[in-house]
Subunit: 532 residues, 2 copies
Amino acid sequence: MEAKPPGLQDNTADLDRLQQALASLLADGCTISIPYACMMRVARGFRAADYGGFALVIHGENEWKIIDFLLEEPKMIAAMALDLGTTHLEATLLNLQNGEKVARADMKNSQIIYGTDILSRIHHATGERRQQKKPGADFQDPGLMELQNAIICSINTLAEKLAENAGVAKNEVYAISVSGNTTMAHLFLGLDPYHICREPYIPLFNRAAGVEAGQLKITIHPLAPVFIMPSIGSYFGGDLVSGILASGMAESDQTRMLIDVGTNAEVVLGNSEWMIACAGAAGPALEGGVARMGMRAEPGAIEYIAIDPTSYELVFRTIANVKPKGLCGSGLIDLVAALYLANIIDIRGKFRDPGKEKNPDRAEFMKKHLMQKDAVFYFVVNPEVLEESAEAVILEQIDLDAMIRSKAAMYAILRTLTNQVGLGFADLEEITVAGAFGCHINPQCAITLGMLPDLPLSVYKPIGNSSLLGAEQVLLDKNSRLECEKIVSRITYLELNVNQEFMIRFSGARFIPHTDPSLFPSVPPFTESPSN
Amino acid sequence: MEAKPPGLQDNTADLDRLQQALASLLADGCTISIPYACMMRVARGFRAADYGGFALVIHGENEWKIIDFLLEEPKMIAAMALDLGTTHLEATLLNLQNGEKVARADMKNSQIIYGTDILSRIHHATGERRQQKKPGADFQDPGLMELQNAIICSINTLAEKLAENAGVAKNEVYAISVSGNTTMAHLFLGLDPYHICREPYIPLFNRAAGVEAGQLKITIHPLAPVFIMPSIGSYFGGDLVSGILASGMAESDQTRMLIDVGTNAEVVLGNSEWMIACAGAAGPALEGGVARMGMRAEPGAIEYIAIDPTSYELVFRTIANVKPKGLCGSGLIDLVAALYLANIIDIRGKFRDPGKEKNPDRAEFMKKHLMQKDAVFYFVVNPEVLEESAEAVILEQIDLDAMIRSKAAMYAILRTLTNQVGLGFADLEEITVAGAFGCHINPQCAITLGMLPDLPLSVYKPIGNSSLLGAEQVLLDKNSRLECEKIVSRITYLELNVNQEFMIRFSGARFIPHTDPSLFPSVPPFTESPSN
């Protein structure tokens, strides 16, 4: 940017001169504001640069805002996108000048020490609160402050890592976007989540605008805008809005579906005209929250596993190719599908009795891998390590049962949702599968289990961490921020807890692949009789 | 405000609910924002009031902003208007609910200890600065911080007085408007005034938006908006813009003139179509800055004085009817006009020699009141106190000379400005005279001196402290804030320092009433010959 220097015939004030020069550069008619906190710094920079230099402007709501002034062209304009998960944080640093990802980092959510799930965090945040029915307007919940501090510290650690990896200073990170569920957004801003988990489940806020990093003690540039993905309600957070944005569904003429499996399974169906969404407890068994050997998709997690149905050879692969520690969601799905196809479990998901097995190869395999405890079978993935007294990866009947419930819930959700708008699965042009789940699972295995509908595999599109992707998108494109508002205003939420159809469909889906196998023509029928 | 309580069928977030209720109440289509700093307080108040209560909203630029929430209807909504003078601060507290003034207070500008005038303050503010040609962007001038602290302390003292007098708490003052000259505005915000007094005289800023009281450590409500009157340039401050607003000139179909005498005489001519302004050093002699016995219009100042031209009886009145301490502007004008009409001074403003006086009554009066020092006469208003060895109020020849220069400058300014747009004085429907000067002077005396044009007295309208009045107006009426922007964009500034016409007219006006007495038909001609 270059402005004409002042003179006796042109005694425009320094900041007016800068605003005029920028207005003619941006040429979109929006006003350009300068926050009080940086007026002096900006004006001095502008003079020091002899009325040239580089003004850092961000697009707020209906206006541009100058947040800093640089004498020399920066090597990059860094901004941080953050997926604020309940258990895990994942962040990337973008160079806004070319859209490139210049660094990524992740870490556990340090709030876990105050509670592993949303409910226990809300209780921790509002523990002292419960003793006072109507707290004073300025009452500070100590628990809430602890949780906010914890998350801000984590974010600052991530910001530091990202900046270091990208070779910029922390205060050269000029924006941050945050995508998280509704409770996480409340804890992030230190706002009372008390009513989120209490009937009628009212969040304090769904959107927060105009927040600056400095106000939250986030140690990037203090005037960096904090874009918080708007949420829709207590159980429909900004992370899902972010996912919808990233999926492109809201811009699509074709009807699509987005499936995001985290703690809950959240599903959205729609196109640029309409959207309908629901959430259900289909997730935990798939995410490592329930199965004894379940774990996140981290080094040591078995992410792929197969059993040859003829030779009964078992092969698996772990993330980072290290010693197996457990099963992540995709490994679990692979394993259960393989057990079904090899007739080790029956259509109810129960281990068959090796003693009653007639096929000698299968009987041998079952004897090697199935063990008993309290007269209940469990499956050992790698029995060979037991000889070395090492811990093996196992799958218990209880895990299998949880898995069947999860997959049944998932299918019932998908079916109820599509039926709600009078569509069949065949009407879907694309099913976007988000999350680590989406990246690693073999859709064919999920179809075998009857978890996902029996559609051509090309219909399924994994997109990874859609919450993070949406957060990246709002940093790169101001229209995406408006798009989020459109998504929020256009979504219809379907409450499943009181939905009769869902309950009926859930019962029907508690078999592999389904009580009605004709819904899954690609899945081979089960040949053996149930084990007992 | 009343909102419907939430329920399972209506799980709108608390703050969304509040915003919706307010939007339907305000019904002007503007968005309603809630700053992060008060989200929790507002949401809790709204719940505590069972979705009723009172949201405090202020009209920012293109939006409403909630700054607090009250459970009960406040007895008043207080806002502070402040005239930030170089030497003096004057403030009022308004109840925004009915526009009433509920308190007023004034005090000296405590920055005076760092310098009595603008120039010395700028030097103090930037003293250390001068050693570094290009200070770092974040360099804090210690002098500037001292000056800012001083003024903020003064404002806090005033705010305390006002709140106490009105019976409200300080943090129940929900807005402040500030009207001051360009340098004072810079010092108020702690922004570098270095270039204001250096060619080409560029202020750092003319307008500052979105400032909150808390950012400046003003101890009213921390989110109270600080409305700062926009300025036009280094020598055309927000105080004058405020005055123009208060005069109503910018809305008037008739052409009017505004005369504001402070440290400078500032004059604006115009109507709703156009405005032209200029400033000149016509003030000091009238404001107590120059004359030895000059003083502000405070208790003890002689504000009225007359000499009967036949009986030579001298009568005067002091403010608050206490012992006379000096002469304020109006007293000075009265006195000089009376001395001229009684033929004690001649048309050049020189004391005549009592020894050469032929009229016995006048000779007696002159002998009583005129004394000599170093062969120069001076006038004693109250010689009787000399017998009690008390200090008398005197007027020296040097004061008279300064007075003549001031009045000549004033008349020359007015004449040059009207001539610039091809008008005569008779074309003016109204001349608004602002300041203490305007309130107290007798326009007839000012006409006698040839300071103000010889027009019917009904043309002159005193309005008092127009800077303060404008500041009050922007608190009461949001359109007035837009009006200020219009004024700023519409004014043409006439530079008098390089104006040849002004210099010629100034010389012609250095007689009482003028070298061309036909311009002042209402003023009796001088009958005696000059004294030497």
